[in-house]
Amino acid sequence: MSQATELRIDDIAPPAPGYWATAMRKLRRDGAAMTALTTLIVIILLCAAAPLYARDIAHTNPFESNLSGTVLRHGKMVEVLGAAHNPLRLGVEPIGPSWKLGPYMLGADGQGRDVAARMLYGGRNSLLVSFAAAVICLVLAALTGILAGFFGGWTDRAISWLLDALWAFPVFLLAISLSVVLIAHGIDIGPIRLDASSLALPITIIGVIYVPYVARPVRGLVLGLRQSEYVLAAIGIGAPSWRILWFDILPNVISSLVVFAPLIVALDMLTEAALSFLSIGVQPPAASWGTIIHNGESLIYTRPIVAIAPGLAIVITVLALNILGDGLRDALDPRAKLRN
């Protein structure tokens, strides 16, 4: 029970910086995390520059098929999609990579579109979907977790049951079922209208399915905080619920959400890729890294680069997110765990 008390002699030292400032300072000293962050920023910037690349370097519209086009290669005009060189003239071969900055740097896909340009555009969607889904997930998880943990009683029971049901539904099957079914018509519930081809659909689905993963630990955290003496103290002085939520509960919840955030983005990115790979994620003609891998799978022997490049992009991005997540966890909360 008794806690060893160190007598602080640094009373004359300047007051410590705030919680977040301390965390930021720790993070900045973490070389791996900073490298990861830089990598992420570079990837985001590159993807943001997709239209510039498509217009000024690749000179192409990455959303339109280019089935009868030609391009200058080694001083000759070459068909972007030419008949394959075999005795039966069987099959069509997209042009291969030139490995030089310019049109078809990474070659063409099965529809004659510039793979490099599509990678950048696809990256935009992959990033957008995973970041937006993570925001939805974290906000919903914070809401449900706080509601259940703070107010308890029937609210808690109802939310916990719902979370358990979602949790028991193998998360991936849930995502696939929802996608298969919703892709046909989109969502049309009262005021909420999501078109099937809009990115909002995969964002919503991916955002929702991981809510239990985060909401459960948040609920546990809030449940613990609810019993903590400083929350009791706040109740004891007559502080209204919103003040307690705002000053005592939310800061703690947010710091663990910040730790979760990069990991959830990483998870979302992998999920989006998987759904798109099963062609029920981002819908054509829009691309994501997952859809490019899916398209590339049917070119895997002739033009493996189409599947390899976006896969590498995913690995690098997710790796950076995971490293950043580790760094954030070390900086903020060494005991946070994503699972349970």
Partner: protein, 325 residues
């Protein structure tokens, strides 16, 4: 004695555990069972007992952090047992609490300035500038320096933190403070400082305390009267000197004998009463006198009949068939 500040009558707190699906069915834990006492303005009532006897629960019921299952709590002439909303908030201004753990009772994310100011802000006690000054003077009152105001709790020692907790409790100028083992988490050397601070404050501001402790030695320094709790009920209640000098209940005797004595000569002559076994579970209390399984003086009647809390000739109350006088 003039009109009491706090009047607790027949207070009970029961927990129900298990449900229809539980093998044992519903079990009721009587954490606090039919407790009555009063505290006069400016008076300090020491509440002692082993850990788990329900004294903290009682404290939290009195401050309405827990909902009582039965009984009545009257504070400053008003029944506060079922108060809510604005009325409860007003009551709370006069009835504050100090917590046991100075580490857990302060939000680590907030600067102590904000922690101490919080009650003032919640109750709208002035503009921000005024509150600033009030906080500074509260800080001085509890023996902290104003330059420490902008620090975070983790930059303080345990004793200093408890001072912050006291400052927060004092902020609204309450009439009664429920101090829930305020020093048990602190080093012995610091304990005395904090108890002295509380004693000073009591004297200077005419504060009443419900001072909860498991250690009679601490209570001795501050309490005017002492109540001894065992298994959710008060077994002895009376003026501090009387109870401590000549405890009537065997349980009180045992507690007093456990207090370490500084003088080795006296320690040797002192007869230690060692309690047999652990305190029984409040969910399954023994029949008759709840203390009988551990009592050296228990007789037949103790196993069958529960002794009422009855006055002794000197005015003390005790719940024992065989009080030691």
């Amino acid at each position: 004695m003039n009109t009491p500040l706090l009047c607790v009558e027949g207070l009970s707190k029961h927990y129900v555990s298990g449900g229809a699906l539980s093998r044992r069915g519903r079990t009721v834990v009587r954490a606090v069972d039919d407790v009555s006492f009063t505290i006069a303005p400016g008076e300090t009532l020491g509440l002692v007992g082993e850990s788990g006897c329900g004294k903290s629960t009682l404290g939290r019921c009195v401050t309405r952090l827990l909902e009582a299952s039965g009984g009545k709590i009257e504070f400053d002439g008003r029944d506060i047992t079922r108060q809510s909303g604005r009325a409860l908030r007003e009551t709370r201004a006069g009835l504050q609490m100090i917590f046991q753990d100075p580490y857990a009772s302060l939000n680590p994310r907030r600067r102590v300035r904000d922690i101490v100011a919080e009650p003032l802000i919640v109750h709208g006690r002035g503009r921000s500038g005024e509150i600033r000054d009030m906080v500074a003077s509260l800080f001085a009152d509890v023996g902290l320096r104003p330059e420490q105001l902008d620090r975070f709790p983790h930059e303080f020692s345990g004793g200093q933190r408890q001072r912050v907790g006291i400052a927060r409790a004092l902020a609204l100028a309450p009439k009664l403070i429920v101090a829930d083992e305020p020093v048990s988490a602190l080093d012995v050397s610091v304990q005395a400082q904090i108890v002295n601070l509380l004693a000073d404050l009591k004297r200077a501001r005419g504060l009443a305390f419900l001072f909860i402790a498991h250690d009679l030695g601490v209570v001795r320094q501050i309490a005017d009267r002492v109540a001894v709790m065992y298994l959710g009920a008060i077994v002895e209640l009376g003026p501090a000197e009387a109870v401590l000098a000549s405890p009537a209940h065997p349980y009180t005797q045992a507690l007093i004998s456990a207090v370490p004595v500084a003088d080795p000569a006296r320690a040797r002559e002192k007869r230690r009463i060692v309690l047999a076994g652990d305190p029984p579970s409040p969910s399954n209390p023994p029949s008759g006198c709840p203390f009988h399984p551990r009592c050296g003086f228990a007789t037949e009647i103790c196993t069958t009949t529960k002794p009422p809390l009855a006055p002794l000739p000197d005015g003390r109350l005790t719940a024992c068939h065989h009080p030691r006088i």
